[in-house]
Amino acid sequence: MPESKETRERILRIAEIIIEELKLEEITPESFDPDMDLVNELGVDSMDLATVALVLQDEHGVFIDEDDYPKLKTVRLIAEYLQSRLQGRKGKDA
């Protein structure tokens, strides 16, 4: 299924945060492979992921449990995780 504009924008924003927080060079949100394994291919560790998670929490107002960090292996998986948390919140609000 083609990804929606909203998903694409979220993926780009997550990539942007990772680039900024991890001070990555020679990569842009557009060139960031959303399916790249952040741990195995990019060398992201738990402290990096915690930092990114905290920034995402701030932006989206959702809780990211530290036990869920291992699930956040790629930018796309992070985007899907956020989407599910936001939907869960809407469900609660409804």
Binding site: V39, G43, V44, D45, S46, M47, D48, L49, A50, T51, A53, L54, V55, Q57, D58, H60, G61, V62, F63, E66, Y69, P70, R85, R89, K92, D93
Partner: protein
């Protein structure tokens, strides 16, 4: 924007006047001094440690020594410099950036220390300080101190030990003297720290953490933990700049609960996950260059329920950034802890002034008794 994050709710252990609001990370970083400290410490998030028993001999024989417990002491000693060089290169290859060379006594194998330093320039050596390690080996050097000379003679069977340690490491920028509080040597700390600081030596604190099965007189109890915390506070107040510690270090390491109960230890021995962090990367190599995931932690054969070891805390507390972003005091305390850890473990890193003078309780814990 509405926020579904849980507030801490009970306000436990926060300074008087603290509210229970839900703080955003960006709000916690709004204070310039806090932001500056965050930026200072986060530069070192690249550190990935593993530990290595580099020698199975020792020139002291201390009561309660963790090294001579369990199976690791039986490993054959591999003194081949080429084998260690190959190991260090392989470690670098799998992403390790920081080595801790320990047990039994690393100073007895000077050639291996040089080999490791050439291959892996960041690290630390845990030594008893009886023999001076060549200054060309630019690792941090942690010199273990277990009390005054009378106590050292009794517990470590070593006479005049403090004098010898100071002679070897006075004015050495690598050196940090690590005073281990046992149940029996708490009051001695004042005199020992005075001698050390008078000689311009830097001091940090460790807590005796019982090896598995140890029930001897060094093991802490509730009263000794409280007394130790008070003594740590006194030493910090008396010797600013020379004592590398923070109020939150004192809280975390003298709490009635051990580090695992407080923070959930991420070392492989207590952490089955191999997805990310220490559970994935940490190895504890024995002197024969083998390692065993089930036994791997920074101080193997320690009773995990009694573990308050300074080396353990450096990873256990630091790794729990997420839990400390609840309010400004808790976050500042965490920053102080990380700042302390880096100053103790990384060459060239200088500790800043503590950002939080209060005794803040670990996340999720009851309010602690204020000194």
């Amino acid at each position: 924007m509405p926020d579904d994050r849980e507030g801490r709710g009970d306000g436990a252990g926060t300074p008087e006047g603290a509210d229970c609001r839900r703080w955003k990370f960006s709000e916690l970083l709004a204070e310039p001094a806090v932001k500056a400290r965050w930026e200072k410490v986060r530069r070192y998030f690249f550190l990935r440690e593993s530990t290595y028993d580099i020698c199975n001999r020792c020139n002291l024989h201390c009561d309660g020594c963790y090294y001579y417990k369990g199976e690791k002491q039986l490993a054959r000693e591999n003194g081949d410099a080429g084998a260690w060089r190959t190991l260090m290169r392989a470690e670098k290859e799998r992403g390790i950036t920081y080595v801790v060379l320990a047990g039994a006594e690393p100073s007895l194998v000077p050639v291996l220390l040089e080999v490791c330093f050439v291959e892996m320039p960041l690290g630390c050596i845990a030594t008893n300080g009886v023999r001076r390690i060549d200054p060309a080996v630019g690792y941090k050097i942690h010199i273990s101190v277990w009390g005054n000379d009378v106590t050292s003679l009794r517990v470590r069977k070593a006479g005049d030990l403090l004098r010898r340690q100071i002679e070897n490491y006075r004015d050495d920028p690598r050196a940090v003297f690590v005073y281990t509080f046992t149940r029996e040597n708490i009051d001695e700390a004042a005199g020992v720290v005075e001698v050390l600081t008078a000689a311009d030596c830097r001091v940090t604190f460790n807590m005796f953490s019982s090896p598995v099965g140890y029930t001897g007189p060094l093991r802490h109890d509730g009263a000794s933990l409280i007394h130790t915390r008070e003594m740590m506070g006194e030493m910090m107040a008396r010797n600013p700049g020379r004592v590398i510690f923070s109020p939150y270090n004192a809280v975390a390491h003298t709490h009635a609960k051990g580090l695992h109960d407080l923070y959930r230890c991420p070392y492989p021995r207590m952490n089955p996950s191999t997805d990310i962090g220490l559970g994935r990367s940490f190895r504890q190599f024995r002197t024969d260059l083998t390692w065993d995931r089930d036994a791997a932690c920074c101080v193997p054969d320690t009773d995990c329920g009694d573990c308050r070891h300074y080396a353990a805390g450096s990873a256990v507390v630091t790794a729990r950034l997420y839990r400390h972003v609840t309010d400004p005091w808790t976050f500042r305390s965490w920053l102080d802890y990380v700042d302390t850890y880096l100053a103790v473990w990384v060459m060239g890193y200088e500790k800043g002034e503590n950002l939080c003078a209060e005794l803040v309780s670990p996340p999720g814990c009851e309010e602690i008794r204020t000194i």
